[in-house]
C-alpha cells in the first residue's frame, strides 16, 4: 500500500532500526530477523517489538485486501502523489492500477 501521508522529515531517530526490522522480518534469513528483533528490544523495549510487529501484521493484511479486491486510488490522490510515484517508479509495480 502506498503511503502518501508520511513526509521525509517526519520520522524518528530510530528510522533505520525500524526499516531494518521490517526488511529483516519479511525476508528469508531467520538469523537476520532474530538480530533485528533483538536490536529493537534492546534499544526500545519489548512493547516496541509488539507494536511494530502489529503494524507489520496490519499491512500484511491490507496488502491482500487491496490487491485482492482490485483497490484503486481516487484520481485526486494519484495526482497528489505523482512525484513520489515517479521518483520510486511505483507505476512499474504489477499492482499499479492507474
Amino acid at each position: 500500500m502506498f503511503r502518501a501521508s508520511i513526509s521525509a522529515g517526519d520520522t524518528s531517530p530510530d528510522q533505520a532500526l525500524l526499516e531494518e526490522f521490517v526488511d529483516a522480518v519479511v525476508g528469508e534469513d531467520p538469523d537476520r530477523a532474530d538480530e533485528a528483533r533483538g536490536l529493537l528490544v534492546d534499544r526500545l523495549g519489548p512493547d516496541w517489538l509488539v507494536d511494530a510487529s502489529a503494524v507489520v501484521a496490519n499491512f500484511e493484511m491490507m496488502t491482500r485486501l487491496a490487491d485482492g479486491t482490485g483497490a484503486r486510488m481516487i484520481p485526486q490522490r494519484l495526482e497528489a502523489a505523482a512525484s513520489i510515484i515517479d521518483e520510486f517508479n511505483l507505476a512499474a509495480f504489477p499492482s499499479a492500477r492507474l
Binding site: 500500500m1 502506498f2 503511503r3 501521508s5 508520511i6 517526519d10 520520522t11 524518528s12 530510530d14 528510522q15 525500524l18 526499516e19 526490522f21 521490517v22 526488511d23 522480518v25 519479511v26 530477523a33 532474530d34 528483533r37 528490544v41 526500545l44 523495549g45 519489548p46 512493547d47 516496541w48 517489538l49 509488539v50 507494536d51 511494530a52 510487529s53 502489529a54 503494524v55 507489520v56 501484521a57 496490519n58 499491512f59 500484511e60 493484511m61 491490507m62 496488502t63 491482500r64 485486501l65 487491496a66 490487491d67 485482492g68 479486491t69 482490485g70 483497490a71 484503486r72 486510488m73 481516487i74 520510486f88 511505483l90 507505476a91 509495480f93 504489477p94 499492482s95 499499479a96 492500477r97
Partner: protein, 225 residues
C-alpha cells in the same frame, strides 16, 4: 524473548479472527472457511513458493483443504496469500468464470487477509503462531447485502459504491468479515475514529513510525495502493 507480552486488545482481536475464519460465514461453510484459512497458511509457510502463474493444485503438492475446496478456490487462495501484488482484473474475471461467486470471492479475500494478519504478527515478532482452532461446523447463512459495481474496486461493494476509500469499501459485500478485518486494524494499527489524527500513538510508535513501517512493508510486497 520471554519478556514479550502481547497487548490484551491485540490478543483478543487475533483470537476473535482465528475463531471467525473457522466458523460458518455468508457464502462458505465452517469447514470451507477453515480450509481456506489452512490453505492460506500453507501458502504463507511454503519455503519453496510456486511462481504466481503456476496453479498449486496442478503442482502435485498436498494442500490442507484438498478434500473440501474446489481446485479453483484452493488455487485462488494460494495466489492471493502468496502473490497478491500480481493479481489483475483479468485474473479476477477468470475466477468468476471458473465458478467462484462474487460474494464468495470477497469473503475468501477477507479470510486470507485475516490469516495474513495473524501470521504476519507472529512471523514479525518471532512468537509462536497459534494453530487454527477447531472448526465450527455449520452451513453458510446466505444473507448478503445489496451491492453494486464499483469504480474503485474489481469486486462488488455494498451500496452506495465509491463514497469511501477502496480499501474501506472493498470487503463490504461480506460485512461480518469486513468487521473482523477492521477490528484487527484497530488493534494492530489505528482505531478507525483516530485515523485522521496524525499525532496518535499507543505510547510507543509515533504515527510517523507506523507509516514508515507501513510504507516499507507495502513496498516489499509491491502493493501500489
Amino acid at each position: 524473548m520471554n519478556d514479550i507480552v502481547v497487548r490484551p486488545d491485540l490478543l483478543a482481536a487475533q483470537q476473535r479472527a482465528w475463531r471467525d475464519v473457522t466458523s460458518p460465514g455468508a457464502s462458505w461453510t465452517g469447514a470451507e472457511r477453515a480450509a481456506i484459512a489452512a490453505t492460506a497458511l500453507a501458502a504463507l509457510d511454503d519455503t519453496d513458493p510456486l511462481p504466481p502463474w503456476v496453479s498449486v493444485t496442478t503442482s502435485g503438492r498436498e494442500l490442507p483443504g484438498d478434500e473440501v475446496l474446489p481446485s479453483a478456490v484452493a488455487d485462488a487462495t494460494y495466489r492471493i496469500a502468496r502473490h497478491a501484488s500480481t493479481l489483475t482484473q483479468e485474473w479476477y474475471d477468470a475466477q468468476l468464470e471458473l465458478g467462484i461467486d462474487p460474494f464468495a470471492y470477497v469473503e475468501m479475500v477477507a479470510i486470507i487477509s485475516a490469516v495474513a494478519a495473524v501470521d504476519g504478527f507472529h512471523r514479525a515478532s518471532g512468537l509462536l503462531r497459534p494453530p487454527l482452532p477447531a472448526t465450527i461446523d455449520g452451513d453458510a447463512h446466505g444473507h448478503h447485502p445489496d451491492v453494486e459495481s464499483a469504480t474503485l474496486n474489481w469486486v462488488p461493494v455494498a451500496v452506495p459504491a465509491d463514497v469511501k476509500a477502496a480499501v474501506v469499501q472493498g470487503l463490504t459485500a461480506a460485512p461480518d468479515d469486513c468487521d473482523n478485518i477492521w477490528r484487527l486494524a484497530a488493534a494492530q494499527y489505528i482505531p478507525a475514529d483516530e485515523m485522521g489524527e496524525m499525532r496518535w500513538s499507543r505510547g510507543t510508535l509515533a504515527r510517523s513510525d507506523m507509516e514508515l513501517i507501513a510504507a516499507r512493508l507495502s513496498a516489499s510486497r509491491e502493493c501500489f495502493y
